[in-house]
Symmetry: none
Subunit: 217 residues, 2 copies
Amino acid sequence: MTRHDQDRKTRILQAIAEGLRRNGTPPTVREIADLVGLAAPSAVHHHLEALEADRLIERESGLSRSIRITPSGRALLGLDDEVEVVRGRTPLAARELTVVGQIAAGGPIEAYEERSETLAVPEFMSTADSYLLKIRGDSMIDAQIADGDYVVIKPSQVAKNGDIVVAQVEENAVTLKRIYREGGRVRLQPANEAYPPMFYDEVRVQGVLVGVMRRVH
Amino acid sequence: MTRHDQDRKTRILQAIAEGLRRNGTPPTVREIADLVGLAAPSAVHHHLEALEADRLIERESGLSRSIRITPSGRALLGLDDEVEVVRGRTPLAARELTVVGQIAAGGPIEAYEERSETLAVPEFMSTADSYLLKIRGDSMIDAQIADGDYVVIKPSQVAKNGDIVVAQVEENAVTLKRIYREGGRVRLQPANEAYPPMFYDEVRVQGVLVGVMRRVH
DNA sequence: CAAGATTCCGAACAGCCGTTCTAATCAACC
DNA sequence: GGTTGATTAGAACGGCTGTTCGGAATCTTG
Protein backbone atom coordinates (compact mmCIF):
# COMPACT_ATOMS: atom_id res chain seq x y z
CA MET A 1 0.00 0.00 0.00
CA THR A 2 1.54 3.27 -1.06
CA ARG A 3 1.62 6.50 0.79
CA HIS A 4 -0.58 8.19 -1.76
CA ASP A 5 -3.30 5.63 -1.33
CA GLN A 6 -3.24 6.07 2.40
CA ASP A 7 -3.86 9.78 2.12
CA ARG A 8 -6.66 9.38 -0.38
CA LYS A 9 -8.38 6.84 1.79
CA THR A 10 -8.20 9.12 4.80
CA ARG A 11 -9.50 11.97 2.72
CA ILE A 12 -12.44 9.88 1.58
CA LEU A 13 -13.19 8.89 5.14
CA GLN A 14 -13.19 12.54 6.08
CA ALA A 15 -15.50 13.31 3.19
CA ILE A 16 -17.97 10.71 4.41
CA ALA A 17 -17.89 12.21 7.90
CA GLU A 18 -18.29 15.68 6.46
CA GLY A 19 -21.26 14.68 4.33
CA LEU A 20 -22.80 12.98 7.34
CA ARG A 21 -22.40 16.04 9.45
CA ARG A 22 -23.67 18.46 6.83
CA ASN A 23 -26.62 16.58 5.40
CA GLY A 24 -27.42 14.15 8.16
CA THR A 25 -27.17 11.37 5.62
CA PRO A 26 -24.18 9.53 4.18
CA PRO A 27 -23.01 10.80 0.78
CA THR A 28 -23.34 8.78 -2.41
CA VAL A 29 -20.36 7.46 -4.29
CA ARG A 30 -20.55 10.32 -6.75
CA GLU A 31 -20.94 12.92 -4.05
CA ILE A 32 -17.77 11.60 -2.45
CA ALA A 33 -16.04 11.86 -5.82
CA ASP A 34 -16.97 15.53 -5.96
CA LEU A 35 -15.83 16.15 -2.41
CA VAL A 36 -12.39 14.62 -2.87
CA GLY A 37 -11.86 15.67 -6.46
CA LEU A 38 -12.30 12.42 -8.30
CA ALA A 39 -14.06 12.23 -11.64
CA ALA A 40 -15.21 8.63 -11.65
CA PRO A 41 -17.46 6.82 -9.19
CA SER A 42 -15.47 3.68 -9.83
CA ALA A 43 -12.36 5.23 -8.33
CA VAL A 44 -14.27 6.03 -5.17
CA HIS A 45 -15.73 2.57 -5.19
CA HIS A 46 -12.26 1.10 -5.21
CA HIS A 47 -11.28 3.03 -2.11
CA LEU A 48 -14.53 2.22 -0.38
CA GLU A 49 -13.74 -1.46 -0.73
CA ALA A 50 -10.35 -0.88 0.86
CA LEU A 51 -11.92 1.13 3.67
CA GLU A 52 -14.41 -1.63 4.29
CA ALA A 53 -11.65 -4.25 4.31
CA ASP A 54 -9.90 -2.16 6.96
CA ARG A 55 -13.17 -2.13 8.93
CA LEU A 56 -13.21 1.63 8.95
CA ILE A 57 -16.62 1.75 7.28
CA GLU A 58 -19.52 -0.61 6.68
CA ARG A 59 -21.86 -0.79 3.73
CA GLU A 60 -24.98 -2.58 2.56
CA SER A 61 -24.20 -3.84 -0.90
CA GLY A 62 -26.25 -2.09 -3.58
CA LEU A 63 -28.09 0.14 -1.17
CA SER A 64 -27.80 3.85 -1.69
CA ARG A 65 -26.30 5.98 1.05
CA SER A 66 -25.66 3.02 3.29
CA ILE A 67 -22.10 3.83 4.36
CA ARG A 68 -21.53 3.86 8.09
CA ILE A 69 -18.32 4.82 9.83
CA THR A 70 -17.26 2.26 12.40
CA PRO A 71 -15.87 3.17 15.81
CA SER A 72 -12.41 2.40 14.42
CA GLY A 73 -13.00 4.83 11.59
CA ARG A 74 -14.20 7.50 13.95
CA ALA A 75 -11.17 6.96 16.16
CA LEU A 76 -8.87 7.26 13.16
CA LEU A 77 -10.42 10.57 12.24
CA GLY A 78 -10.08 11.68 15.82
CA LEU A 79 -13.57 13.13 15.71
CA ASP A 80 -14.61 11.67 18.99
CA ASP A 81 -14.20 15.27 20.05
CA GLU A 82 -16.34 16.78 17.38
CA VAL A 83 -19.12 17.74 19.71
CA GLU A 84 -16.87 20.14 21.49
CA VAL A 85 -15.80 21.70 18.24
CA VAL A 86 -19.32 22.25 17.11
CA ARG A 87 -20.51 23.58 20.41
CA GLY A 88 -17.27 25.37 21.09
CA ARG A 89 -16.82 23.89 24.50
CA THR A 90 -14.18 22.11 26.44
CA PRO A 91 -13.50 18.57 25.36
CA LEU A 92 -15.92 15.95 26.52
CA ALA A 93 -14.14 13.66 28.88
CA ALA A 94 -15.97 10.60 27.68
CA ARG A 95 -15.44 7.62 25.47
CA GLU A 96 -17.68 5.23 23.64
CA LEU A 97 -17.68 1.75 25.12
CA THR A 98 -19.35 -1.39 23.87
CA VAL A 99 -21.96 -3.28 25.80
CA VAL A 100 -20.70 -6.78 25.23
CA GLY A 101 -23.57 -8.54 26.89
CA GLN A 102 -25.56 -9.18 29.99
CA ILE A 103 -24.08 -10.78 33.02
CA ALA A 104 -26.05 -12.61 35.63
CA ALA A 105 -25.29 -11.35 39.09
CA GLY A 106 -27.41 -14.15 40.49
CA GLY A 107 -25.55 -17.12 39.16
CA PRO A 108 -23.18 -18.09 36.39
CA ILE A 109 -25.82 -18.20 33.70
CA GLU A 110 -24.96 -16.01 30.86
CA ALA A 111 -21.90 -15.20 28.84
CA TYR A 112 -21.03 -12.77 26.11
CA GLU A 113 -23.50 -11.93 23.45
CA GLU A 114 -23.06 -10.73 19.93
CA ARG A 115 -24.16 -7.16 20.22
CA SER A 116 -22.90 -3.83 19.09
CA GLU A 117 -24.64 -1.46 21.46
CA THR A 118 -22.34 1.25 22.69
CA LEU A 119 -22.73 3.90 25.36
CA ALA A 120 -20.74 6.97 26.17
CA VAL A 121 -18.99 6.55 29.48
CA PRO A 122 -17.37 9.33 31.50
CA GLU A 123 -13.62 9.23 31.29
CA PHE A 124 -13.18 9.54 35.02
CA MET A 125 -14.71 6.11 35.54
CA SER A 126 -13.25 4.17 32.62
CA THR A 127 -10.16 3.39 30.62
CA ALA A 128 -9.82 3.17 26.86
CA ASP A 129 -10.04 -0.61 26.81
CA SER A 130 -12.94 -0.91 29.22
CA TYR A 131 -16.18 -2.50 28.23
CA LEU A 132 -19.71 -2.56 29.59
CA LEU A 133 -21.94 -5.26 30.99
CA LYS A 134 -25.60 -4.97 31.83
CA ILE A 135 -26.50 -6.48 35.17
CA ARG A 136 -29.19 -9.06 35.54
CA GLY A 137 -30.31 -10.19 38.94
CA ASP A 138 -29.82 -8.77 42.39
CA SER A 139 -27.01 -10.79 43.91
CA MET A 140 -24.83 -7.68 44.21
CA ILE A 141 -27.56 -5.50 45.64
CA ASP A 142 -25.70 -4.85 48.89
CA ALA A 143 -22.83 -3.43 46.86
CA GLN A 144 -25.33 -0.96 45.44
CA ILE A 145 -25.42 -2.69 42.08
CA ALA A 146 -28.97 -3.28 40.97
CA ASP A 147 -30.72 -5.15 38.19
CA GLY A 148 -30.45 -3.22 34.96
CA ASP A 149 -27.35 -1.26 35.94
CA TYR A 150 -24.48 -0.93 33.53
CA VAL A 151 -21.11 -1.76 35.01
CA VAL A 152 -17.82 -0.57 33.58
CA ILE A 153 -15.26 -3.38 33.48
CA LYS A 154 -11.54 -2.85 33.09
CA PRO A 155 -9.90 -5.91 31.56
CA SER A 156 -7.40 -7.44 33.97
CA GLN A 157 -6.20 -10.89 34.93
CA VAL A 158 -5.29 -9.86 38.44
CA ALA A 159 -7.44 -8.60 41.28
CA LYS A 160 -7.00 -7.68 44.89
CA ASN A 161 -8.83 -9.47 47.66
CA GLY A 162 -12.31 -8.03 47.96
CA ASP A 163 -12.42 -6.59 44.46
CA ILE A 164 -15.58 -7.01 42.45
CA VAL A 165 -14.55 -8.94 39.37
CA VAL A 166 -15.89 -10.62 36.27
CA ALA A 167 -14.90 -14.23 36.84
CA GLN A 168 -15.10 -17.06 34.37
CA VAL A 169 -16.02 -20.16 36.33
CA GLU A 170 -16.93 -22.48 33.50
CA GLU A 171 -16.79 -22.57 29.78
CA ASN A 172 -19.04 -19.74 28.59
CA ALA A 173 -20.14 -18.83 32.08
CA VAL A 174 -19.06 -15.58 33.68
CA THR A 175 -20.37 -13.90 36.79
CA LEU A 176 -19.87 -10.70 38.74
CA LYS A 177 -18.81 -11.24 42.35
CA ARG A 178 -16.41 -10.17 45.04
CA ILE A 179 -13.31 -12.34 44.98
CA TYR A 180 -11.36 -13.69 47.96
CA ARG A 181 -8.47 -16.11 48.02
CA GLU A 182 -8.72 -18.45 50.98
CA GLY A 183 -6.21 -21.22 51.49
CA GLY A 184 -5.78 -23.01 48.22
CA ARG A 185 -9.10 -22.02 46.72
CA VAL A 186 -11.13 -19.04 45.64
CA ARG A 187 -14.35 -17.73 47.13
CA LEU A 188 -16.76 -15.79 44.96
CA GLN A 189 -18.96 -13.83 47.32
CA PRO A 190 -22.32 -12.36 46.30
CA ALA A 191 -23.37 -9.14 48.01
CA ASN A 192 -26.77 -10.46 48.98
CA GLU A 193 -27.53 -12.56 52.03
CA ALA A 194 -29.96 -14.63 50.04
CA TYR A 195 -27.14 -16.03 47.93
CA PRO A 196 -24.44 -18.32 49.27
CA PRO A 197 -20.77 -17.92 48.41
CA MET A 198 -19.33 -20.15 45.73
CA PHE A 199 -15.98 -21.91 45.99
CA TYR A 200 -13.69 -22.91 43.17
CA ASP A 201 -10.24 -24.37 42.90
CA GLU A 202 -9.52 -22.03 40.08
CA VAL A 203 -11.27 -19.14 38.36
CA ARG A 204 -10.16 -16.93 35.55
CA VAL A 205 -10.49 -13.24 36.29
CA GLN A 206 -11.45 -11.38 33.15
CA GLY A 207 -11.76 -7.89 34.55
CA VAL A 208 -12.42 -5.73 37.58
CA LEU A 209 -15.28 -3.35 38.26
CA VAL A 210 -14.32 0.29 37.91
CA GLY A 211 -17.69 1.99 37.54
CA VAL A 212 -21.46 1.73 37.78
CA MET A 213 -24.07 3.60 35.79
CA ARG A 214 -27.79 3.53 36.36
CA ARG A 215 -30.63 5.08 34.46
CA VAL A 216 -33.66 5.83 36.59
CA HIS A 217 -37.00 5.79 34.82
CA MET B 1 -57.42 16.94 8.77
CA THR B 2 -59.04 13.67 9.59
CA ARG B 3 -58.26 11.35 12.45
CA HIS B 4 -57.11 8.61 10.14
CA ASP B 5 -54.63 10.85 8.45
CA GLN B 6 -53.21 11.96 11.76
CA ASP B 7 -52.50 8.42 12.87
CA ARG B 8 -50.92 7.46 9.60
CA LYS B 9 -48.72 10.48 9.63
CA THR B 10 -47.49 9.75 13.14
CA ARG B 11 -46.87 6.18 12.16
CA ILE B 12 -44.81 7.29 9.18
CA LEU B 13 -42.81 9.62 11.36
CA GLN B 14 -42.11 6.73 13.69
CA ALA B 15 -41.08 4.60 10.75
CA ILE B 16 -38.56 7.22 9.67
CA ALA B 17 -37.11 7.34 13.15
CA GLU B 18 -37.03 3.57 13.29
CA GLY B 19 -35.23 3.31 9.98
CA LEU B 20 -32.77 5.91 11.13
CA ARG B 21 -32.08 4.02 14.31
CA ARG B 22 -31.72 0.65 12.64
CA ASN B 23 -29.74 1.50 9.55
CA GLY B 24 -28.16 4.79 10.44
CA THR B 25 -29.64 6.26 7.30
CA PRO B 26 -33.10 7.59 6.54
CA PRO B 27 -35.40 5.11 4.79
CA THR B 28 -36.55 5.49 1.20
CA VAL B 29 -40.15 6.15 0.28
CA ARG B 30 -40.67 2.50 -0.54
CA GLU B 31 -39.02 1.32 2.64
CA ILE B 32 -41.40 3.52 4.59
CA ALA B 33 -44.28 2.00 2.67
CA ASP B 34 -43.16 -1.45 3.78
CA LEU B 35 -42.73 -0.36 7.38
CA VAL B 36 -46.18 1.18 7.70
CA GLY B 37 -47.99 -1.29 5.46
CA LEU B 38 -48.64 0.79 2.38
CA ALA B 39 -48.37 -0.68 -1.10
CA ALA B 40 -47.69 2.41 -3.16
CA PRO B 41 -44.82 4.86 -2.82
CA SER B 42 -47.15 7.59 -3.96
CA ALA B 43 -49.25 7.17 -0.84
CA VAL B 44 -46.19 7.67 1.32
CA HIS B 45 -45.18 10.61 -0.79
CA HIS B 46 -48.50 12.24 -0.06
CA HIS B 47 -47.99 11.95 3.67
CA LEU B 48 -44.41 13.13 3.44
CA GLU B 49 -45.61 16.34 1.85
CA ALA B 50 -48.02 16.82 4.72
CA LEU B 51 -45.30 16.08 7.27
CA GLU B 52 -43.04 18.59 5.60
CA ALA B 53 -45.80 21.19 5.57
CA ASP B 54 -46.15 20.64 9.30
CA ARG B 55 -42.39 21.16 9.63
CA LEU B 56 -41.99 17.77 11.26
CA ILE B 57 -39.53 16.64 8.59
CA GLU B 58 -37.34 18.23 5.94
CA ARG B 59 -36.39 16.89 2.53
CA GLU B 60 -34.16 17.70 -0.40
CA SER B 61 -36.39 17.35 -3.43
CA GLY B 62 -35.37 14.46 -5.62
CA LEU B 63 -32.54 13.33 -3.43
CA SER B 64 -32.67 9.81 -2.10
CA ARG B 65 -32.72 9.22 1.63
CA SER B 66 -32.72 12.91 2.38
CA ILE B 67 -35.47 12.98 4.98
CA ARG B 68 -34.51 14.62 8.24
CA ILE B 69 -36.65 14.79 11.34
CA THR B 70 -36.86 18.31 12.69
CA PRO B 71 -36.67 19.10 16.41
CA SER B 72 -40.45 19.48 16.35
CA GLY B 73 -40.79 16.02 14.90
CA ARG B 74 -38.47 14.55 17.45
CA ALA B 75 -40.35 16.25 20.25
CA LEU B 76 -43.62 14.85 18.94
CA LEU B 77 -42.17 11.36 19.03
CA GLY B 78 -40.71 11.98 22.47
CA LEU B 79 -37.31 10.60 21.47
CA ASP B 80 -35.07 13.55 21.90
CA ASP B 81 -32.17 11.37 22.97
CA GLU B 82 -32.60 7.93 21.70
CA VAL B 83 -32.20 8.14 17.98
CA GLU B 84 -28.88 9.86 18.06
CA VAL B 85 -27.43 7.66 20.73
CA VAL B 86 -28.11 4.37 19.10
CA ARG B 87 -27.26 5.16 15.55
CA GLY B 88 -23.92 6.44 16.68
CA ARG B 89 -23.89 9.20 14.15
CA THR B 90 -23.08 11.88 16.64
CA PRO B 91 -19.50 11.37 17.69
CA LEU B 92 -20.20 10.97 21.37
CA ALA B 93 -23.54 10.63 23.00
CA ALA B 94 -22.51 12.53 26.05
CA ARG B 95 -22.82 15.98 27.48
CA GLU B 96 -20.85 17.94 29.97
CA LEU B 97 -22.75 18.57 33.17
CA THR B 98 -21.79 20.66 36.14
CA VAL B 99 -21.39 19.29 39.62
CA VAL B 100 -23.22 22.00 41.51
CA GLY B 101 -22.37 20.70 44.94
CA GLN B 102 -22.69 17.98 47.48
CA ILE B 103 -25.98 16.93 48.87
CA ALA B 104 -26.46 15.23 52.16
CA ALA B 105 -28.50 12.10 51.86
CA GLY B 106 -28.44 11.83 55.64
CA GLY B 107 -30.13 15.05 56.57
CA PRO B 108 -30.81 18.47 55.18
CA ILE B 109 -27.37 19.84 55.82
CA GLU B 110 -25.83 21.21 52.74
CA ALA B 111 -26.91 23.32 49.82
CA TYR B 112 -25.41 24.46 46.60
CA GLU B 113 -21.80 25.37 46.40
CA GLU B 114 -19.91 27.61 44.09
CA ARG B 115 -17.94 25.13 42.06
CA SER B 116 -17.14 24.61 38.43
CA GLU B 117 -16.35 20.92 38.28
CA THR B 118 -17.92 19.25 35.30
CA LEU B 119 -18.21 15.64 34.24
CA ALA B 120 -19.20 14.03 30.98
CA VAL B 121 -22.49 12.21 31.42
CA PRO B 122 -23.92 9.67 28.97
CA GLU B 123 -26.74 11.13 26.98
CA PHE B 124 -28.98 8.17 27.63
CA MET B 125 -29.20 9.05 31.31
CA SER B 126 -29.43 12.81 31.16
CA THR B 127 -31.04 15.78 29.50
CA ALA B 128 -29.39 18.95 28.34
CA ASP B 129 -30.41 20.91 31.42
CA SER B 130 -29.51 18.24 33.95
CA TYR B 131 -26.96 18.82 36.64
CA LEU B 132 -24.95 16.67 39.00
CA LEU B 133 -24.82 16.27 42.75
CA LYS B 134 -22.33 14.27 44.76
CA ILE B 135 -23.87 12.18 47.49
CA ARG B 136 -22.80 12.40 51.08
CA GLY B 137 -24.13 9.99 53.61
CA ASP B 138 -25.89 6.67 53.29
CA SER B 139 -29.54 7.46 53.85
CA MET B 140 -30.40 6.26 50.33
CA ILE B 141 -28.33 3.11 50.52
CA ASP B 142 -31.31 0.81 50.02
CA ALA B 143 -32.01 2.58 46.74
CA GLN B 144 -28.49 1.57 45.69
CA ILE B 145 -27.21 5.10 46.06
CA ALA B 146 -24.01 5.15 48.09
CA ASP B 147 -21.77 7.75 49.64
CA GLY B 148 -19.62 9.35 46.96
CA ASP B 149 -21.96 8.54 44.10
CA TYR B 150 -22.79 11.17 41.53
CA VAL B 151 -26.49 11.55 40.83
CA VAL B 152 -27.90 13.08 37.67
CA ILE B 153 -30.76 15.46 38.45
CA LYS B 154 -33.28 16.66 35.92
CA PRO B 155 -34.73 20.00 36.96
CA SER B 156 -38.45 19.69 37.55
CA GLN B 157 -41.02 21.18 39.88
CA VAL B 158 -43.26 18.16 39.69
CA ALA B 159 -42.70 14.58 40.74
CA LYS B 160 -44.68 11.39 40.93
CA ASN B 161 -45.29 9.61 44.19
CA GLY B 162 -42.26 7.50 45.04
CA ASP B 163 -39.84 9.44 42.86
CA ILE B 164 -36.45 10.24 44.27
CA VAL B 165 -36.24 14.01 44.27
CA VAL B 166 -34.09 16.91 45.32
CA ALA B 167 -36.33 18.69 47.79
CA GLN B 168 -35.76 22.06 49.36
CA VAL B 169 -37.10 21.87 52.89
CA GLU B 170 -35.67 25.08 54.32
CA GLU B 171 -33.84 28.10 53.13
CA ASN B 172 -30.51 26.83 51.80
CA ALA B 173 -31.22 23.24 52.73
CA VAL B 174 -31.86 20.58 50.13
CA THR B 175 -31.97 16.81 50.48
CA LEU B 176 -32.33 13.75 48.29
CA LYS B 177 -35.25 11.53 49.27
CA ARG B 178 -38.21 9.61 48.01
CA ILE B 179 -41.30 11.81 48.01
CA TYR B 180 -44.83 10.80 48.94
CA ARG B 181 -47.92 12.96 49.29
CA GLU B 182 -50.04 11.83 52.22
CA GLY B 183 -53.14 13.70 53.17
CA GLY B 184 -52.33 17.35 53.28
CA ARG B 185 -48.62 16.96 53.85
CA VAL B 186 -45.50 15.55 52.28
CA ARG B 187 -43.37 12.66 53.45
CA LEU B 188 -39.71 12.56 52.55
CA GLN B 189 -38.63 8.96 52.93
CA PRO B 190 -35.00 7.89 53.27
CA ALA B 191 -34.04 4.50 51.83
CA ASN B 192 -32.36 3.35 55.03
CA GLU B 193 -34.09 1.86 58.02
CA ALA B 194 -31.76 3.73 60.34
CA TYR B 195 -33.28 7.03 59.25
CA PRO B 196 -36.86 8.06 60.01
CA PRO B 197 -39.13 9.69 57.45
CA MET B 198 -39.53 13.45 57.59
CA PHE B 199 -42.84 15.24 57.25
CA TYR B 200 -43.44 18.71 55.91
CA ASP B 201 -46.44 20.80 55.13
CA GLU B 202 -44.75 22.01 52.03
CA VAL B 203 -41.55 21.26 50.16
CA ARG B 204 -40.20 22.65 46.97
CA VAL B 205 -39.16 19.99 44.48
CA GLN B 206 -36.14 21.16 42.56
CA GLY B 207 -35.50 18.12 40.43
CA VAL B 208 -35.93 14.38 40.03
CA LEU B 209 -33.29 11.68 39.91
CA VAL B 210 -32.64 10.34 36.43
CA GLY B 211 -29.27 8.66 36.79
CA VAL B 212 -26.56 7.41 39.09
CA MET B 213 -22.84 7.16 38.42
CA ARG B 214 -20.27 5.56 40.67
CA ARG B 215 -16.54 5.29 40.39
CA VAL B 216 -15.09 2.22 42.05
CA HIS B 217 -11.57 2.55 43.34
C1' DC C 1 -78.15 8.08 -0.40
C1' DA C 2 -75.51 11.39 -3.05
C1' DA C 3 -71.70 14.33 -3.42
C1' DG C 4 -67.39 15.57 -2.33
C1' DA C 5 -63.11 15.05 -0.24
C1' DT C 6 -59.55 12.10 1.31
C1' DT C 7 -56.64 8.27 0.88
C1' DC C 8 -54.63 4.75 -1.58
C1' DC C 9 -53.15 1.90 -5.54
C1' DG C 10 -50.84 0.89 -9.79
C1' DA C 11 -48.16 2.24 -13.40
C1' DA C 12 -44.89 4.88 -15.44
C1' DC C 13 -40.89 7.98 -16.08
C1' DA C 14 -36.68 10.28 -15.60
C1' DG C 15 -32.87 10.56 -12.93
C1' DC C 16 -29.74 8.72 -9.38
C1' DC C 17 -27.08 5.03 -7.40
C1' DG C 18 -23.95 1.12 -6.77
C1' DT C 19 -21.39 -1.78 -9.38
C1' DT C 20 -18.60 -3.78 -13.06
C1' DC C 21 -15.48 -3.79 -16.87
C1' DT C 22 -11.96 -2.00 -19.92
C1' DA C 23 -8.57 1.06 -20.83
C1' DA C 24 -5.64 4.95 -19.83
C1' DT C 25 -2.38 7.10 -16.66
C1' DC C 26 1.07 7.15 -13.20
C1' DA C 27 4.94 5.75 -9.98
C1' DA C 28 8.45 2.73 -8.65
C1' DC C 29 11.81 -0.53 -9.71
C1' DC C 30 15.05 -3.42 -12.13
C1' DG D 1 13.12 1.57 -21.28
C1' DG D 2 10.26 -1.88 -20.14
C1' DT D 3 7.58 -4.19 -16.55
C1' DT D 4 4.60 -4.32 -12.89
C1' DG D 5 1.19 -2.81 -9.89
C1' DA D 6 -1.66 0.80 -8.21
C1' DT D 7 -4.84 4.53 -9.28
C1' DT D 8 -8.12 6.78 -12.01
C1' DA D 9 -11.24 7.66 -15.99
C1' DG D 10 -14.97 6.48 -18.81
C1' DA D 11 -18.82 4.04 -20.18
C1' DA D 12 -22.38 1.05 -19.43
C1' DC D 13 -25.76 -1.93 -16.83
C1' DG D 14 -29.50 -2.89 -13.95
C1' DG D 15 -31.77 -1.67 -10.01
C1' DC D 16 -33.42 1.87 -6.85
C1' DT D 17 -35.63 6.40 -5.91
C1' DG D 18 -38.47 10.42 -5.97
C1' DT D 19 -42.11 12.07 -8.36
C1' DT D 20 -46.30 12.44 -11.18
C1' DC D 21 -50.77 11.09 -12.88
C1' DG D 22 -55.20 8.80 -13.41
C1' DG D 23 -58.42 6.23 -11.31
C1' DA D 24 -60.28 3.23 -7.66
C1' DA D 25 -61.47 2.73 -2.91
C1' DT D 26 -62.77 4.71 1.39
C1' DC D 27 -64.44 8.05 4.43
C1' DT D 28 -67.05 12.32 5.60
C1' DT D 29 -70.76 15.34 5.25
C1' DG D 30 -75.14 16.91 4.39
